[in-house]
Symmetry: C2
Amino acid sequence: MREVFQQELADVQDRLVRVADLVADAIDKATTAFTTQDVALAESVIADDHLIDELALGLDELAINILARQQPVARDLRIVVSALRISASLERMGDMAEHIAQLARYRFPEKVVPKSLRPTFKEMGRLDIAIARKLTRLLESEDPLLAEEIRNDDDRIDELHLSVFDQVLGETWKGAANDTVDATLASRYHERFADHAVSISKKVQYLQTGDWVLQAG
Amino acid sequence: MREVFQQELADVQDRLVRVADLVADAIDKATTAFTTQDVALAESVIADDHLIDELALGLDELAINILARQQPVARDLRIVVSALRISASLERMGDMAEHIAQLARYRFPEKVVPKSLRPTFKEMGRLDIAIARKLTRLLESEDPLLAEEIRNDDDRIDELHLSVFDQVLGETWKGAANDTVDATLASRYHERFADHAVSISKKVQYLQTGDWVLQAG
């Protein structure tokens, strides 16, 4: 019985890593589609988002089932409770990737953002991918150094997010209203993606310390 | 022992209602500040958001504590598990109200959106307030009719959200880039606020049926 229980907890953690992996692939494809106008790639992200949703749902059901049957305590309980929160954040990260892909698709065959903003979005995309890959490794290893790197990458994304507004609201901005809308939404989605990763990092920290902390604001 | 436990579960539900009440007050003030350029009101929303965060955090801690000590099953377990998800959504609804208030404050003493969009935002604000008040009553009563009304109000908000883009991207739009940014973000915050309410309604439904469903996308 005890062995079955430990196997189930390991299964929860494996599934978190699997969802995180799919999310990392999704943001990789979405940000690439966004910066290269690859509409087929954008469509594959949109078509595959349901896989993330279904895995997250199955993970929730497993976690609730474990709570009902095994009545875990201490670290075991923390694994299950944090999994419930982490799955919700991963699902939202998948949605952000999907939204970025949708922007790329709507605008096709036009480019999504004017030339002046492209280096900024390229860098935001690169950071979001790096964060997502680190997140997968963090969920596997619980290495606090990875959590710290994710926080640092998120700080950098926040700076880039603000710089998008500086550019859009600056004197030299020549974009049309649709460029302004796209840049605003895309920047927000990139930034929220990273916020959720930080929020998950805090839940991994909770696994170790038992200190529950708020979701990222 | 049993009586203490039932008292604790009642406490979880009372606290959810209290947080929802604060969220309803926050969105009421934030949307009023947004449409009337009342900077003092906007600042009060921003200053008070930490109260929502703290209550949500305390609620999470209570729920985890109940899981650890009481090992609830069946409906009792569903109350605790759904409370963990609902508190996260309520906290985000508070953040959306705060973001709307921040837009009002940044732009002061200017109005946040051009005249042509004001009726749309007034209506979105009215619906968000109505949704938040219904949500409080839903958490008290678990009345499925309220859940249905919330879904209908959310559908209407989604329409208004799309209509904001139609206006901003239309031929007659004369707004500057900052008007476009503000309208885009404000519309997104109003829409996300309502999405979270729908997501909470689904968790209330889960209390009754035991069918866990995904967060709103």
